[in-house]
């Protein structure tokens, strides 16, 4: 809807559309016989900026302005870094609530807008969820511009490009797709941009909204994206030919496409010695296996394959379980469930209440449950091992997906023993292998195998740090292109 020529009508229209919002101020400014109106939303714009740079300036030049063309003067000489001419009512409202000042004239069908955004953001803080020991510790904030700046600060090349779109019919949130021109496959960028443009949602709460909207249903339960709040890690990933999805008001960015091995990487890896990183990654991989397999293997050993346990251990297991009336499966399920409740309580309980939960949980559920003969000590150990191992990862989504697979394998183990566990593992691997993240194989660079990208997979070679390699093979790219 184009705006009319009548200033008063425009103001009426804005008032009507905003429901006479009390935070929108209209300041009439008479010059000679003409009146212009400044309209701005107090809550999102900076009062000092409006006073100092617009109103004061206008006041000083009041007398000179009588003879000049008001519109041209204001457009060209008011000191502001972001001046735009707009012609539609939709734009006017969008800029109004984006912290811009609207200048409304009589007899022109244009409105001039100045940027006077208030800084409603937390400052750049230390990363809390992905703590850094050796690397830079700044993290993304909720401010979109700051976040872009944090990336630009690190990659000053002109090849850091981004596509920007606005998503959300009500929230009008900016979503940007960062990539390195010449490194990233353009088709991938276009695909994701297309998908984002098609999104039909009202409100974008955080980056994960966008992700849910563009990703396909996922049968492996494993997350197919990587979120990070560390700009240094995002840059590292950009250089490997990935796309970084940044969403306004979200302090996490999404890295697409992502591979399975990415979950075993930590931003700090790139600041450590390659050999140590290799060790840590191996430990993380073992932790993942322990987390998924321990309870299932224990159940199949105890219920079906007693002969595989060394006799000394078997006697211990046997006398410790003496007097426990429940089946092993039940014990394991109950204890895992209690652990999950404890974890949830620890995470959600406000302030310092967390420690009391762990004391009650640790003592009551561990020691006392054993002494009361409800569970056997070995069950506590098994559940403890698998739970602690599952906490070796920073991605909450990954931890939750591990929980599902634990459960699936426990059920299979309790009905079918080792055969069931094997069967479950085969299904898991098959699902992972058939999985795609933005049309790219999830198990890359192992399947399809890419020799160059192995330098940043399980091992981390210096070369890959200095000259990051694209994780996908050329053939792989071509195949997808055709």
């Amino acid at each position: 809807m184009t705006i009319g020529k009548d200033r008063k009508k425009i103001i009426e229209e804005i008032k009507r559309k905003t429901g006479n919002a009390s935070d929108v101020s209209y300041k009439d400014f008479p010059i000679d016989n003409k009146i212009i109106t400044f309209a701005y939303a107090n809550t999102v714009s900076s009062a000092t900026d409006i006073n100092d740079f617009i109103l004061r300036r206008m006041d000083e030049e009041k007398n000179n302005l009588k003879t000049k063309d008001l519109f041209l003067y204001i457009k060209n000489y008011i000191p502001n870094n972001s001046i735009k001419e707009i012609t539609t009512m939709e734009d006017a409202l969008y800029y109004l609530f984006n912290g811009f000042t609207l200048v409304i004239f009589d007899n022109t069908n244009k409105i001039i807008v100045f940027e006077n955004k208030a800084k409603l953001n937390s400052p750049i803080q230390r990363s809390e969820n992905e703590q850094s020991l050796k690397g830079p510790s700044d993290s993304f904030t909720e401010n979109y511009e700051t976040n872009t700046g944090l990336l630009r600060k690190r990659i000053k090349s002109e090849n850091l490009w981004f596509n920007e779109c606005i998503v959300g019919s009500k929230s009008k949130t900016k979503v940007a797709l960062f990539y390195i021109n010449g490194v990233c496959n353009l088709k991938l960028v276009n695909d994701i941009t297309e998908k984002i443009k098609k999104i039909d949602i009202e409100y974008v709460g955080s980056a994960n909204y966008i992700l849910d909207a563009i990703s396909n249903p996922n049968r492996a339960i494993f997350p197919t994206n990587l979120t990070t709040e560390r700009p240094d890690f995002a840059c590292q990933m950009l250089l490997q030919g990935r796309v970084v999805l940044m969403v306004e008001n979200s302090n996490q960015v999404i890295i697409l496409p992502c591979t399975f091995i990415d979950f075993f990487k930590n931003p700090d890896d790139y600041y450590e010695k390659g050999l140590n990183v290799f060790g840590t990654r191996i430990i993380r991989i073992i932790a993942m296996m322990l987390a998924i397999l321990t309870p299932a293997l224990y159940i199949s050993l105890m219920a079906y394959n007693l002969e595989s346990i060394p006799s000394g251990l078997l006697i211990n297991f046997s006398i410790q379980r003496d007097g426990v009336p429940f089946p092993t499966v039940f014990e394991i399920l109950v204890m895992s469930f209690m652990f999950q409740i404890l974890r949830e309580g620890d995470m959600r309980f406000p302030g310092k209440g967390g420690s009391s939960i762990s004391i009650v949980g640790g003592l009551v559920l561990g020691q006392a449950a054993v002494e009361a003969g409800i569970v056997s000590p070995i069950t506590i150990i098994i559940v403890g091992v698998s739970s602690v191992a599952s906490l070796a990862f920073s991605s909450v989504e990954l931890i939750n997906s591990i929980r599902w697979w634990q459960l699936i394998l426990i059920v299979l183990a309790s009905f079918f023993g080792f055969v069931g566990v094997m069967f479950g593992c085969i299904i898991l691997v098959a699902l992972l292998a058939s999985h795609e993240s933005c049309g790219k194989p999830f198990l890359a660079p192992f399947e399809p195998f890419n020799k160059n990208a192995q330098k940043d997979a399980i091992i981390l070679d210096k070369v890959s740090k200095f000259h990051p390699q694209n994780i996908y093979t050329k053939e792989d790219e071509n195949e997808k292109d055709s």
Binding site: Y304, L306, S311, G312, L314, I315, D322
Partner: protein, 397 residues
């Protein structure tokens, strides 16, 4: 519909190929750690089977498990076990059986193949259990003796035997499946370790036995028992056992005493002995040429000797050691093949495998090989190390 059928087929395959039907909690099992077989005293057609259960109950003080013992008689081993199961509140689990003790009386009078079938037929039972014979005592008494260090008698027997097998050179171990295959094979006879109780069995049954610093009842492995025609014939002495272990290549670490002068002795440890056998027929009779190349360490030398300045002294020791080893193996071979006809070294089998054509030509069967076999030994011993001293503390004379 197709999907449902597929899922059903998968579940069916899983159920039929996995062990769902034998889901059992570990505390529903009584874990059997030792089995003994005796002849029933009253009814001679029956066997008396004793079992030792190792997870009987928890000792609250030490947090270890206490053992218990059951026995019953039956015409077959399984019948006896079934009778025991009626008495016991838990199902017997034989998958972790460690020892099988057979009584001397039974082995002397009966072919073990009469009652060992169950041990090969059952899928669950441990085929790696060690076989031993109890001398004089009833076999089940062996399973009753509680010993210090290892409170479970079966585990005690098993680990003692394993240690002895590694370090003493006078004992050897044999598992159920080896034992049975030796019994079945015509060209081989089994040889099994003998265990006996020293002291009073009445004391050994009690838990008090292990609180004494010198327990009144102990289990002791003494010698090897050899078989002839699948029946126990006799026992080898210590020397003969050592000799046997050389010939059977089962020795790992052997200690040999040699007399180094008129009254003093020296001890050597043989760690590595290379033994080469050549099978042939000499004068139409089976003939075995055995070369023993032993490397020894000198552990103790109580005679006066100086090994660095006097090369002869070490040569003399080596000569004596060679001679000693030769006597040991000769004793063993004489005892087994000359005095008796016990083919425990499996030459019947070996000749059958290697010299089949000649055997056929000369009309030998596997069984007959052991009757006519002749041995020739060549022993060469070397002392490789004299440990920390280059001379004995007495010094050179």
């Amino acid at each position: 519909m197709k999907k449902i059928v597929k899922i059903l087929i998968i579940i069916l395959i899983l159920i039929s190929s996995s062990g769902c039907f034998n889901y059992k909690e570990i505390n529903d099992y009584a874990i059997v750690s030792g089995i003994s077989i005796d002849k029933d005293e009253e009814d001679k057609s029956k066997y008396k089977v004793g079992i030792q259960i190792m997870n009987a109950k928890k000792d609250e003080e030490t947090d270890t498990s206490l053992i218990t013992f059951y026995k019953a008689s039956g015409n077959t081993v399984y019948q006896a076990l079934e009778k025991i199961m009626l008495d016991s509140p838990k199902e017997l689990y034989l998958g972790h059986n460690e020892v099988l003790v057979l009584s001397e009386e039974l082995l002397k009078n009966e072919d073990p193949l009469n009652y060992l079938d169950y041990f090969m037929r059952d899928a669950e039972i441990e085929k790696d259990s060690l076989v031993m014979v109890s001398m004089k005592d009833k076999a089940y008494n062996i399973l009753k003796v509680i010993t210090p260090l290892e409170t479970i008698p079966s585990t005690n027997l098993k680990s003692t035997l394993n240690i002895a097998d590694n370090f003493s050179g006078t004992l050897t171990i044999i598992t159920i499946d080896q034992f049975i295959s030796d019994l079945i094979n015509e060209g081989a006879e089994p040889i099994i370790p003998m265990v006996k109780i020293t002291g009073d069995i009445k004391d050994g049954e009690k838990m008090d036995n292990i609180t004494e610093s010198d327990p009144s009842a102990k289990l002791k492995f003494d010698a090897l028992a050899y078989f002839e025609n699948n029946k126990l014939k006799g026992y080898l002495s210590n020397d003969e056992s050592t000799g046997y272990n050389f010939l059977a290549k089962t020795q790992k670490e052997t200690y040999i005493n040699i007399k180094c002068d008129d009254q003093n002795y020296a001890t050597t440890r043989i760690k590595d002995a290379k033994i080469k056998e050549e099978l042939s027929f000499k004068n139409n009779k089976p003939y075995v040429n055995i070369n023993i190349d032993a490397e020894a360490d000198l552990l103790e030398c109580n005679c006066s000797a100086d090994f660095i300045n006097n090369e002869k002294s070490i040569k003399q020791l080596e000569k004596k050691l060679s001679k000693k080893i030769k006597t040991l193996v000769t004793k063993a071979s004489n005892k087994l093949y000359k005095d008796n006809n016990s083919d425990t070294l499996k030459y019947g089998k070996k000749f059958y495998e290697e010299k089949y054509k000649e055997m056929k030509k000369l009309g030998y069967t596997k069984k007959m090989i052991s009757e006519d076999i002749k041995f020739n030994f060549k022993v060469k011993a070397q002392i490789k190390s004299t440990e920390l001293s280059i001379k004995s503390i007495k010094g050179a004379k």
